[in-house]
């Protein structure tokens, strides 16, 4: 089994009763990008730091089938990018990127220039770190971690400190860089959109336990449990034998005992089959989102046409969008 292997990894902190990471086993193939997704405090950062060699663990971490548990951090060849970059403020941009390169290697400057070009900061070598914006800092941190060609790249919420637009753009760029360099990566995030944008596969963690590992589309279509579905953003759960489920099943035939409804499972429409009572409206990116109470299902978020207004208490017709409905066992 080449690539990264985790076997029964447990991380405990002194003085805490429950382990931060609880018997996690995983495999990441060479060249694959895996996202560790979970709410804050679920143990995903602890797991990442344990892989890097920064937390003591029980169980085994392997690379290409040989254990690295006894290998000190600096010899593992695993790169790490922190949420806030942790750039060396006493070195300039070039000095940061060159830090992990052999001291007197030929082509060192060339490599630094190439990596800065790769992250979109060509020519920034002599810039002091303090003059960079948050997004630029993270790009430098990424270039610095990529410079020694790590066998595995570990990214600890590298985009979380940035604002939303920048985060979404950088997520796409990040994936492009990882794929272009063929880097195997483990990426920690609490944002499912980000996980889906960056990763080949997503591992969902809660309370230190691994709940599900799947490709983004499979994860979305078939969450393994109600816990996973809730975390992914499914907001209502309807047993298939409930009378209200009939209309849903007609639009979206699903296996399983329970139907999970994501935001947007209903679309407001004049001649909709179902009726719901409006509780309130908000607007996201121009689209109107309507909080509606559907009998037998409960409060859900439906999408409405742009520019329409409703008062609380209005009764509206609802169409079903099958793509936002998943079946749970």
């Amino acid at each position: 089994m080449s690539g990264l292997g985790l076997l029964d990894v447990v991380v405990r902190y002194p003085g805490r009763a429950t382990p931060a990471v609880d018997h996690v086993s995983l495999h990441v193939a060479p060249g694959e990008v895996l996202a560790l997704l979970g709410p804050s405090g679920c143990g995903k950062s602890s797991l990442l730091r344990a892989i890097a060699g920064l937390e003591p663990l029980t169980g085994d971490v392997t690379w290409d089938d040989s254990s690295v548990v006894q290998v000190p951090v600096h010899r593992r060849g695993f790169g790490l990018v922190f949420q806030d970059g942790q750039l060396f403020t006493h070195r300039d941009v070039g000095g940061n990127v060159a830090y992990g390169l052999p001291a007197r290697s030929t082509g060192r400057d060339h490599r630094v220039a190439e990596l800065l070009e790769l992250v979109g900061l060509g020519g920034y070598e002599r810039r002091p770190v303090a003059t960079l914006s948050g997004g630029e800092r993270q790009r430098v941190a990424l270039a610095r971690a990529l410079a020694p060609s790590p066998r595995l790249m570990l990214l600890d919420e590298p985009l979380s400190a940035l604002d939303r637009t920048l985060r979404e753009r950088l997520a796409v760029d990040l994936r492009a860089v990882l794929v272009a360099t063929g880097t195997t990566a483990v990426f920690v995030t609490h944002d499912q959109d980000e996980a889906f944008a960056v990763a080949d596969r997503v591992a969902v963690l809660a309370d230190g336990r691994l709940l599900q590992v799947d490709a983004p589309a499979d994860l979305w279509r078939r969450p393994a449990s109600r816990e996973v579905a809730s975390f992914l953003g499914y907001e209502a759960f309807v047993p298939v034998d409930d009378p209200a489920a009939a209309a849903l099943l007609a639009a979206a035939p699903r296996d399983g005992a329970v139907l999970a409804l994501a935001e947007g499972a209903f679309v407001v429409s004049g001649d909709g089959a179902l009726k719901g009572t409006v509780r309130g409206t908000t607007s996201r990116r121009g689209r109107t989102e309507v909080r509606v109470d559907v009998p037998g299902i409960g409060p859900v978020t439906a999408l409405g046409p742009v520019g329409t207004r409703w008062e609380a208490g209005d009764v509206v017709g609802l169409d079903v969008d099958g793509d936002a409905i998943a079946g749970l066992d």
């Binding site: 002194p14 060396f88 272009a180 195997t184």
Partner: protein, 580 residues
């Protein structure tokens, strides 16, 4: 990120390098053992030896010394004086220092850097120089002679405040500068007046820094030696000067030992308070980038009345007044050193090259001796103090390890509090054939730099440690994941980031060694005195020429220390490092 095609980076896997690197365990073991040995041999042993002489008579413990010494009214008077002087001086230094910290660190104005440097000068001046400077100001015939303050309680307190004002300004200012202003702004928006916002929000936030600075000032005042010895005359003194008097004048070792223990207790209490306060301070170290608002005499255009401008002006006025008072003894010292008979001239400076008929060596020779010993002491203090700071800055995972680190931290603060006189005299008692070796260190002259290093080590630790502690451990992790071995992490992260504070520590250690008087007065050989010892001898001699030479030599010593500290001060980055 448009140029992905140009990338030549392959998923070339970095091979795992084998082989053992520098055994870090050996390094850390040495880093703990070397300072412990140094402190054990050159601090603990002499002090224990000194105390032992006082309490062990003919091989058996004899505590009757306590009863004897405490039955003397003189003892009670001096203990009372020590506490009274230190308390009054500390209170004054804090009351004057808080507005100073505000004006010099929270507000921005032209010339601020120069005034900040000026305020620091008294603190780095050798205690002997401070004594001489105040003496020349207050003696009858001096500019303030009409106040008849020479040899009074007021004169001593004034000199102590002069000396320690900078400790409060820098300690409190360093924190104030980095205090997030939004807490105070929130209070103002909730309806608090500028004064009330200061009292209820800013002042409580500053309390750890104020307590920390106050306990340090108390410590310095309670152990003041050179200044008090020169200004106090026969009537006034501290426990420290009394230990000196008992050992050198009355040859009463038992009384000196009892007084050393008393001083240790008082100082231990002050250090405990300082340690508590500092723990709070370092926990709150990650405050914000330094912020300061411009200060102008006129109310800034567009700002309403009762917006705190009057408060700022009052603080500025108080600070200006204090700065003028600080200048007075310094300017007077220089002026008086140029006074020859009824005229002016450089005669006293010219005399520095001769022995003046009464000295064993010329002032210039003593200056060279001082510089050489101070250099040796600085190297020693830097090695020992640097290692201590490095060890103490670690945060071991295990609770036992953390306790050990905290213990080491406290242990190396002790030399700050134990009387330098005790250390000096203890050296004389213990360094005759030390450890059974057939050498007499007392005559070799090596004890002077060692004693000075013992005094300077806590200064180095306190300057470097806060910077090392403030380094985010993840920065070290980042270096490790980039392939840096532990030795390289230490070099490229810890050492690089602490470099400036190390420069500053060198300056303070050098200045402290150059001006050290308490221990040196015991250890310097009569034919090879240091500059402070020579100055003390000069003012002890009658005649205007000796006095003039003492003034000129004080100016030389003051200029030397001030310029060394000023050179190292340039290394300090804003808001970083150190408590003084």
């Amino acid at each position: 990120m448009t140029t992905l095609t140009r990338v030549s980076a392959t998923p070339a896997q970095r091979p795992v390098r084998g082989g053992a690197g520098w055994p870090m365990g050996v390094f850390w073991a040495l880093a703990v053992v070397v300072p412990l040995l140094f402190l054990g041999i050159f601090f603990a042993w002499p002090v224990v030896e000194m105390v032992r002489r006082g309490f062990v008579v003919d091989g058996s413990l004899d505590l009757s010394g306590f009863a004897d010494v405490f039955s003397r009214p003189r003892t009670w008077r001096l203990v009372g004086l020590t506490i009274a002087q230190a308390t009054v001086a500390t209170t004054l230094a804090v009351l004057l220092g808080i507005p100073g910290a505000y004006v010099l660190y929270r507000r921005r104005w032209r010339g601020r850097a120069a005034v900040r440097a000026l305020v620091t000068v008294p603190f780095v001046l050798p205690t002997v120089v401070v004594g001489v400077a105040f003496r020349s100001l207050l003696v009858s015939g001096g500019p303030l002679g009409f106040l008849h303050l020479d040899g009074t309680f007021v004169a001593i307190v004034a000199a102590l405040v002069f000396f320690d004002y900078a400790v409060v300004v820098r300690g409190v200012g360093g924190m104030w500068e980095r205090l997030d202003p939004r807490a105070e702004q929130a209070a103002r928006a909730l309806g608090a007046s500028p004064w009330r916002a200061f009292r209820t929000v800013t002042l409580p936030a500053l309390t750890p820094a104020i307590a920390s600075a106050a306990s340090l000032v108390f410590l310095f005042c309670a152990t003041a030696f050179g200044t008090v010895l020169i200004l106090g005359g026969l009537k006034f003194g501290t426990i420290e000067t009394e230990i000196w008097v008992q050992t050198t004048q009355f040859l009463d070792l038992r009384a000196a030992a009892v007084l050393s223990v008393v001083q240790l207790v008082i100082v231990g209490l002050a250090l405990t308070v300082a340690g508590r306060a500092r723990a709070h301070r370092e926990r709150a170290l990650a405050l914000a980038e330094p912020v300061s608002r411009p200060l102008s005499l006129r109310r800034p255009a567009g700002s309403p009345r009762r917006d705190g401008h009057g408060l700022a002006l009052a603080a500025a006025g108080a600070t200006a007044f204090v700065v003028l008072l600080l200048c007075l003894p310094l300017v007077n010292l220089v002026v008086r050193s140029l006074r020859v008979g009824d005229g002016w001239g450089l005669d006293h400076y010219a005399a520095l090259g001769s022995t003046g008929g009464v000295l064993t060596v010329s002032v210039w020779t003593a200056t060279l001796t001082s510089l050489r010993t101070a250099l040796e002491a600085t190297v020693l203090a830097l090695v020992v103090g640097g290692l201590v700071a490095l060890v103490v800055s670690r945060r071991p995972r295990a609770a036992a390890g953390r306790r050990a680190v905290a213990g080491l931290d406290a242990l190396f603060m002790l030399p700050l509090g134990v009387s330098a006189v005790t250390v000096g005299f203890g050296f004389l008692l213990s360094m005759h054939e030390p450890l059974g070796l057939p050498i007499d260190l007392r005559t070799s002259g090596v004890l002077v730099p060692i004693a000075q290093a013992v005094v300077a080590v806590p200064l180095v630790v306190r300057t470097v440690l806060p910077v090392l502690r403030a380094i985010d451990p993840r920065l070290r992790h980042a270096a490790s994941t980039l392939g840096a071995a532990p030795g390289r992490v230490l070099r490229s992260v810890d050492l690089s980031l602490a470099a400036r504070s190390i420069g500053l520590a060198v300056g303070f250690a050098f200045a402290a060694s150059l001006g050290e008087f308490g221990a040196t007065s015991f250890l310097a050989r009569p034919d090879n005195p240091t500059l402070p010892v020579l100055i003390f001898r000069l003012i002890g001699r009658p005649g205007p020429d000796s006095y003039g030479m003492a003034l000129a030599a004080s100016v030389v010593l003051a200029v030397l220390t001030a310029s060394i500290v000023a050179a190292c001060e340039r290394l300090r980055s804003p808001g970083s490092g150190g408590e003084w």
